[in-house]
């Protein structure tokens, strides 16, 4: 309870003593948004940790060897993640549901065990020292980036692109019959998700003094954690996975005493949500869930009432 007491009574000290936590929430929220885009278009892809690894290693290696500026490093990581996204998407997007999930797990494990752990340049599994990491001041960058990402995703889900994704998620055959190029829109979602994951990965690396190629970081364990953001928060609205990321990332800090059993606590929480609120904490309504009754409703463009 100390956690909440401090949060509400002394937010300044809270901010100072929880910088790392808040930055991690920001990173995880960006990754959760990457997950949201694929789920929103009806694809159960678990490829995010792979694209995070690509973003992270590209950015850190450029810094290490060429001393290029951070913005350029991150941009390169994002671009490479997007390009790999296209290459991976071409074959795997023929699959659906759990088969797509398994194929994307294949991708992240092949990348981690096959490439990262074997290339001399990535440290062959010993990890990589990140000399220009900035764990403390990086938080501002992360929060600004998160705000931009959330705004973009919010706008995208509102337009023609978002409508096409929603249609594909609901019923691919019916979407085809409305003239929606299903394969193309799925690819757009998959690559956009790869780009966001690469971005999140590069930002995360910037906060850490050491790039660790472990399973917790870029393997299946991470993939499952990212999926749990979406399951917990709900994938019908972009706010859902962000709320899920917030909860999952914060739980270990709230239950500090139960540290050894934190996975059990998270698991029970997840089961409770699945049982009592299967659409996720947020569901399809987005922020409407916390909107006070007096707040004017203006979430949809309405036609003037006739007459």
């Amino acid at each position: 309870m100390d956690f909440f007491i401090q949060l509400f009574t002394d937010p300044v000290t809270f901010w100072n003593s929880h910088t790392l936590l808040i930055a991690q929430i920001g990173i995880n929220s960006i990754i959760a948004t990457s997950m949201f885009i694929v789920l929103y278009s009806g694809q159960l892809s678990l490829a995010a940790p792979g694209f995070m690894a690509i973003g992270a290693y590209t950015s850190v290696l450029m810094d290490l060897y060429w001393r290029t500026p951070l913005a350029l490093n991150i941009a390169a990581g994002v671009a490479l993640a997007g390009a790999v996204g296209v290459l991976v998407g071409l074959p795997v997007l023929r699959l659906r549901g759990v088969f797509l999930a398994i194929a994307t797990i294949g991708f992240i494990e092949a990348l981690r065990l096959g490439v990262i752990l074997n290339l001399p340049i990535t440290g062959e599994g010993l990890g990589l020292k990140n000399i220009s990491a900035d764990p403390l001041n990086g938080i501002y960058l992360v929060l600004v980036c998160l705000a931009v990402v959330l705004f973009l995703v919010w706008r995208l889900t509102k337009g023609r692109l978002g409508a096409a994704w929603a249609a594909i998620r609901q019923d691919e055959l019916a979407a085809l019959s409305q003239g929606i190029d299903v394969a193309r829109y799925k690819m757009i979602a998959f690559v956009l998700s790869a780009v966001l994951a690469g971005f999140g990965g590069a930002l995360e690396a910037h906060l850490q003094t050491f790039v660790d190629p472990g399973d917790q970081q870029y393997g299946v364990t991470r993939a499952v954690q990212i999926l749990s953001f979406a399951v917990l928060g709900g994938s019908g609205h972009f706010v859902g996975p962000v709320v899920g990321a917030l909860v999952v990332t914060t739980l270990p800090w709230i239950f500090v005493q139960a540290q050894a059993y934190i996975n059990i606590v998270t698991g029970l929480f997840l089961i409770a949500v699945i049982v009592f609120r299967p659409q996720g904490i947020v569901g399809r309504g987005g922020l409407a869930i916390i909107r006070p009754a007096w707040w004017p409703r203006r979430d949809r463009v309405r036609a003037p009432t006739p007459g």
């Binding site: 003239g179 399809r284 463009v301």
Partner: protein, 522 residues
């Protein structure tokens, strides 16, 4: 010609789903496409709309070739469709569903969205207005329906919404796949008026439906498919009196010639029908029944499939339950087997209340169903399929019973080590019946045993059914092949839209023109 098909062909494995169909749909007309269950109507639509690739043959929409195009491109060319089993975007609102229908006419607004430009808001408002007009046009009240989640709308409204979504595409050709399925007569009338109004506004419609009154009522021309081939085309009157069509719908009475089919004479048929249905005697219902169904009503959500049907079966009888597709035949059988629970009415088998008893208990009492489509285990061998039917019994007698069944169906003995999925359709049907017999039935429910079988196979299946009956098993037979079923039946019930329209002795119904009406309208 708006739509032109030239020898379109599509086979699935050995099944010739669409086998060289040529068809022309005139601009501004309502063209009907009918045929018995499994005739290939939906497959043909799936080929035209690009869901299933062409095997051979070509198709054009005016001068645009449809052959080899992707489904979304064909939709963009102006071919819009609805689905047999409604495919709305269920979790989206009605308004969002119709807006998605405008996808192809709506330029990409991603940049305007990201920049939150006011231009977007204006465009969107125009589209919303149009979507509301479309909803009103199909008879939905846009004011009440717009913001409701599509999946929560009543069934009839979902059908209408799907049509509104199709119209949002501004199609040149609208394909309606069973728009009136599962509707009650007044809803059907509403759909009929809607179709006529859309056509009057200049829209060309290809209409597929099992309700012959609807198809015959609104279409100028009707094409009939059977086993993937077009067997007839013409005006509704020409088609409904065509001997080949009657044969496809009602089946053939074995050796009897088709011309003896009820009402096939054509002219003067209408009077004969009225006379005959008036003179048709009520069935002589048995006094002591082994199965007694009274006033049964069954529905699937909002769709009522069976509306107050009553029927009785006495020990030792063969009773046929016939009627067109969607009349409620299989629903009745599934209710008797305890797989579906009725809304109202009673069903008693030998003192057992079938409306509450567990399906396993019903089978143990001796009421055994051989389901439509056979439902055999395709990857198991023939013998394994048979052994499974004796599940839970002591092994001593089981081998003897299986031997006895194999003696009856020698072909199964020859094939005992083969996987059931490799058998021909007729052999699979034999296996399904054999499996039913191993459950030691006192009343055997047979659901469409001749479905999709070649004529000589149908003969074999029916002679097997007659043999089983002679050995003392009571049989309730559901069939689309009405003439064939009535020929071996003691009594029959004719079902139409979930109600028993006629009943009588097999011979009586066999010569009653009203039976044809139940199938082909009139």
């Amino acid at each position: 010609m708006l739509l032109r098909l030239d020898k379109v062909q599509r086979h699935f494995g050995g099944v010739r789903a669409v086998d060289g169909v040529s068809l022309e749909v005139e601009q501004g007309s309502i063209h009907g496409l009918i045929g018995p269950n499994g005739a290939g109507k939906t497959t043909l639509v799936n080929v035209i709309t690009g869901y299933v690739p062409f095997q051979s043959g070509r198709a054009w929409l005016e001068s645009d070739e449809l052959t080899g195009r992707h489904a979304h491109r064909i939709a963009a060319l102006g071919v819009s469709r609805t689905f047999q089993n409604i495919r709305l975007f269920k979790d989206l609102t009605a308004l969002e569903n119709v807006l998605i229908g405008m996808h192809t006419r709506h330029r990409d607004d991603t940049l305007a969205q990201v920049a939150t430009l006011p231009v977007f808001r204006r465009d969107q408002r125009g589209r919303v207005d149009e979507a509301r007009r479309l909803m009103d046009a199909v008879g939905l009240s846009a004011k009440d329906v717009s913001d409701r989640t599509a999946g929560t709308l009543p069934y009839g409204d979902q059908r209408r919404l799907e049509i509104a979504r199709s119209l949002a595409l501004q199609p040149r050709l609208l394909i309606l796949d069973e728009p009136a399925a599962g509707m009650n007569p007044s809803e059907k009338q509403g759909i009929r008026e809607l179709i006529e109004r859309l056509n009057a506004d200049g829209l060309t419609i290809l209409l597929i439906d099992h309700d012959m009154r609807l198809v015959m009522g609104v279409c100028k021309r009707v094409a009939v498919l059977d086993f993937g081939r077009k067997i007839a085309e013409g005006t509704p009157t020409e088609v409904s009196t065509d001997a080949g069509v009657i044969k496809a719908y009602l089946g053939t009475g074995g050796d009897k010639v088709v011309t003896s089919a009820p009402g096939a004479s054509g002219e003067g048929a209408a009077e004969a029908v009225i006379e005959a249905s008036a003179s048709s005697r009520p069935a002589v219902e048995p006094q002591t029944a082994i199965l007694d169904v009274d006033d049964l009503t069954v529905s699937y959500g909002a769709i009522t499939a069976v509306r107050g049907a009553s029927l009785r079966v006495a020990a030792g009888e063969v009773v046929a339950l016939i009627g067109a597709n969607g009349a409620g035949k299989s629903t009745i059988l599934n209710t008797l087997s305890g797989l579906i629970r009725p809304d109202a009415g009673t069903a008693v088998f030998d003192g057992l209340d079938l409306t509450t008893a567990k399906p396993s208990e019903i089978v143990r009492r001796g009421l055994v169903q051989v389901p439509e489509g056979r439902e055999i285990l395709a990857r198991q061998t023939v013998l394994e399929n048979l052994e499974l039917a004796t599940w839970g019994r002591r092994s001593g007698t089981v081998t003897k019973e299986i031997d006895a069944v194999i003696k009856r169906f020698p072909i199964l003995g020859e094939r005992r080590a083969l996987r059931a999925g490799t058998l021909s359709g007729g052999e699979q049907q034999m296996l399904a019946i054999a499996r039913g017999l191993l459950a030691r039935p006192r009343l055997l429910l047979l659901d469409e045993p001749s479905l999709g079988l070649a004529p000589q196979m149908v003969d074999e299946v029916f002679s097997a059914i007659e043999d089983i009956h002679k050995e003392g098993t009571t049989i309730l037979l559901v069939e689309q092949n009405a003439l064939r079923a009535l020929e071996i039946a003691d009594r029959g019930y004719v079902l139409e839209t979930g109600q028993v329209r006629l009943s009588g002795s097999g011979d009586d119904l066999l010569h009653n023109p009203a039976v044809r009406r139940a199938y082909l309208g009139g």
